[in-house]
Symmetry: C2
Subunit: 453 residues, 2 copies
């Protein structure tokens, strides 16, 4: 399909293209147009029916949108803008350079411009920044029939009609009715009689991630957003909530991999931009490894007496780091899903302590067997005359490192959440760096006690 | 609120509770009931209005559901089951022990039972396993008015009425109409005239994660599911798609932290279960660290000549691991969002190569300065007479380790995807273990060339 379209574009068969395009899904169409050279874009965009053109425009990436806006005449620009939903318009303006943003605003009428400026003023991570101001509002004294008339009148310009919001004269939110309720009610009942009054809503300045989590928890299709005076100012729809959930996950992944979050997709991000997102944590973690280096340096002379111990440093640090990541990642995910809270900290610690003892115990025993059979008998790694003590040192270190790793891994993210730092930052690399130092301390302390190093 | 309810429960004020409960959101109510001792549960559940009772029941966790089912009389059980949607019934049966599942099936009529058994037969990760069979179906020759009559008739028992599916006599999917389209159309138009014919659908045996990704991509509220003969057999709704997306993310997190995926929330999982999910990878990674140990052992005697080099092993391995995780996690997330595909592998490799050269270069220079100023001049870590050569060895190793780490980190997940292994398994711990060995190889090879070790 895609190939055939690209062929038709090359052959400039606009008549056939027009027919194919008009039947296509806007998302798919935007993907195909992203493969086309920019100079063809304007012509192709012009053959789209007006409504579809706007839908495709919303799905395009910022570069393409900017290119098109700059190619549009004022009239064309206005035509596209008239078809857009308010939240999409605001998102586009937000991404454009100032001159383009200004040109867009000039094509909107005074009232719309005021609304756009209001929406632009909400902080980037607030519910206000993802809401749309177009929804169906009803009054309590309307009949079901009158409600349908209103839906027919304003519905074509709203993002969803399936949940209608009931407000009083000063726009306070009184309740909601779904179109399903309306369809299943007698037409002469009033909205006041059939509306649901226990409405779950959010405030414009609430964190958009918390608002998105409500969709996951309750299965909403839309959520009303009110201002400080509890007046209804907009709604968030489920598709925007899914976007927020996905962005949040990507951000968590990045933080957990010690990368500064970025907003663009991988292939759209330049090499230098990727470099800038990755180098700060790499530098910080490299410098902080000075501590592990310092600990080893302090024991350098003693290690040359029992060089076999050196070979097990990576295994001990690795197992410590892996054990810690297992806990920290589990806790980070549970915190973000709302499965655990700060008040559960002692339950979590107690559980991780027991899991740590089990894991540490099994690893300790398996390692002892492996050390004796493979490393000692088969590979003859130990020849200092203190073999047994060395092996015991390694296994005891393993046991305690795993337990400490589990505890550090579970405590750090919970504390981070409590002091309002994103728990994801407390994931693998940072925890691992701390545990590297901890496991060396345990190693040399144990060696001191067991071997008298 | 929650405290007041718990107080009322303790005081057995069922009259007041009934009133409060009937106004509450089912999800919230299920959360509150999870705090109540099991013996109170049956009484409290019985005071709920029938429809709400079923909605609360669906939101409860498996333990509570099983307890209630066992406490129900056959008539009570049937009443709850009659109010449930088909997909929820199937999910519940799927989680129950065989005896309870059998009792549930006995309370359903023959036709429903046949349908349930069909749904139970779909593999756990297929679209069929998350679909519901209750939806509004229309015929092309119906008028808009007749369509509304049908929605009013069957709508009360379907999960969504907002998208209606148009089928022919043998249930082949012909198109869809939204209730919005119906409301905005003249009542005497036929469904055939107004329906959307380019319908995006999925097959029952498709991977449920791929189906959920379609909701993210297109912003659907529901997606039709067809069987092998292209007959409509069910729909997936957006709330279930969000659940799948969230489960998938949790699974990716677990795999990336070297944990076997589990289905229960953290606090609901027993200590032994958590232990079982974590120990296999810990054991595997511990044993595989034998390789790094073996490499160090091989150079043991040489290292005792230049002991200062030992202190930098953790830093080199750590930086290698971190650099590799940055790439692998970015690539894993981009693969699962569909931002990159196998055919992009050379673009990705070329990009990571350049990012690796930049990152490695900066780290190399910063480290040289730090080694000279802090480690050499200030802390006097080097005293072998070959200081400069040692420092150069460390920095060259750093440079090449970072580059190799970036390449390994990006290539492994893409190859995993290509051979149908979940890329998330190729994340941090496995990549890190490989890179530990690689960085040591580079270290000792460089030391051999530069110092002649």
């Amino acid at each position: 399909m895609e190939e055939r379209i690209l062929e038709l574009i090359e052959g400039k068969k606009y008549g056939q293209l027009k027919e194919i395009f008009s039947e296509m899904n806007p998302t798919d169409l935007a993907i195909i147009l992203s493969e086309v050279p920019h100079k063809e874009l304007t012509v192709l965009f012009r053959i789209l029916p007006k409504e579809l053109a706007a839908e495709v425009f919303v799905e395009m990436d910022t570069d393409m949108q900017q290119f098109l806006i700059e190619a549009f005449s004022d009239r064309e620009l206005k035509e596209v803008l008239d078809e857009l939903f308010m939240d999409d318009t605001v998102d586009i303006i937000d991404e454009m350079p100032a001159s383009v943003a200004k040109r867009i605003l000039m094509q909107t009428d005074k009232e719309t411009r005021k609304m756009i400026n209001q929406l632009l003023a909400y902080p980037d991570d607030s519910a206000g920044s993802i809401m749309t101001t177009e929804y169906v509002d009803l009054k309590t004294n309307m009949t079901v029939e009158a409600a349908f008339a209103r839906i027919r009148k304003v519905g074509v310009d709203t993002e969803t009609i399936y949940t209608c919001y009931v407000i009083d004269a000063s726009r306070h939110l009184l309740g909601l009715v779904s179109v399903k309720d309306l369809l299943l009610s007698q037409t002469d009942k009033t909205i006041g009689e059939i509306m649901e009054e226990n409405v779950i809503y959010a405030n414009t300045h609430e964190d958009k991630e918390e608002v998105a989590a409500l969709f996951d928890k309750y299965g909403f299709l839309a959520l009303p957003i009110v201002d400080k005076e509890n007046r209804l100012v907009g709604i968030v729809t489920v598709d925007d909530a899914i976007d927020v959930l996905q962005e949040e996950v990507s951000e968590d992944f990045e933080k957990m991999a010690a990368i500064l979050p970025s907003e663009r997709t991988y292939l759209k991000t330049g090499v230098f931009e990727t470099f800038k997102a990755r180098i700060p944590w790499l530098l910080f973690l490299m410098i902080s490894a000075t501590f592990t280096g310092a600990i080893i340096s302090a024991y350098e002379n003693k290690l040359t007496v029992l060089p076999a111990l050196i070979a097990y440093i990576p295994m001990l640090m690795g197992t410590g780091g892996n054990s810690g990541s297992q806990s920290s990642v589990t806790i980070i995910r549970s915190l973000s899903l709302g499965d655990i809270e700060f008040r559960d900290i002692f339950k979590v610690i107690f559980k991780e302590l027991r899991v740590g003892v089990f894991c540490g115990g099994v690893l300790c025993v398996v390692n002892m067997v492996k050390l004796y059979l493979i490393d000692y008998l088969l590979m003859k790694n130990f020849d200092s005359g203190k073999e047994l003590y060395e092996m015991i040192t390694i296994c005891i270190t393993l046991f305690f490192t795993v337990i400490v790793a589990k505890l550090v891994g579970c405590i750090l993210p919970i504390i981070a959440k409590c002091i309002k730092v994103d728990p994801a930052v407390m994931a693998s690399p940072l925890v691992t760096t701390i545990l590297d130092a901890v496991s060396l301390f345990i190693y040399f302390a144990t060696a001191g006690v067991v071997i008298g190093l």
